[in-house]
Symmetry: C2
Subunit: 103 residues, 2 copies
């Protein structure tokens, strides 16, 4: 994984519970993942959702500024609004500094 | 979530890909989750695995010391050994300091 010059990087943990039905979610999720990957400071993403609709997506970024910029991206803001209204029964976000990684 | 007196807490992100078959995995995973929850400094855990066998488990702890103690727990060491040998094709661990959480 590529780091900034400090060697530090950050994780955004997004835990969510989907509502029933797709309602445009899949195409938006795919679009947002591609768009995130184009943003300055993006490092990588990992995402898992189980059959109950519980999901965890973790994106990694090289700075808190990159995370803040992505949060305010105008297309992402539309997706966030729609997510709160229609796609998620519940969600939580945690912003973390990665202290150690192995193996 | 309960924090220590500094208000800081930590996340252990465990990302893994399961091998095929159970091979004793399920009972051990359940046992380890219960045992972890009894450890000093444990706060909570969230875990998702999809039908392809990709999983993310995040446990939250009130200090790095609590994380280190759990990593060295003798029953957990047995599970870690077995996990590396039999249960996981691949896994990664990241230890993170939670900087912000919302909503």
């Amino acid at each position: 994984m590529v780091h900034d010059t400090n060697g530090s990087y950050y994780a955004v943990i997004f835990s969510s519970q989907r509502t029933a039905g797709d309602n445009g979610y899949s195409i938006m999720a795919e679009t947002m993942e591609k768009l995130a990957a184009e943003q300055p400071g993006f490092l990588s993403v990992e995402s898992v959702r189980d059959t109950s609709g519980a999901g965890i997506t973790i994106s990694y970024w090289d700075s808190l500024e990159a995370i803040s910029n992505w949060k305010q991206n105008k297309f992402h803001l539309v997706a966030q609004e729609k997510g709160m209204q229609d796609w998620y029964q519940d969600y939580k976000v945690k912003i973390c500094k990665v202290e150690r990684a192995y193996p």
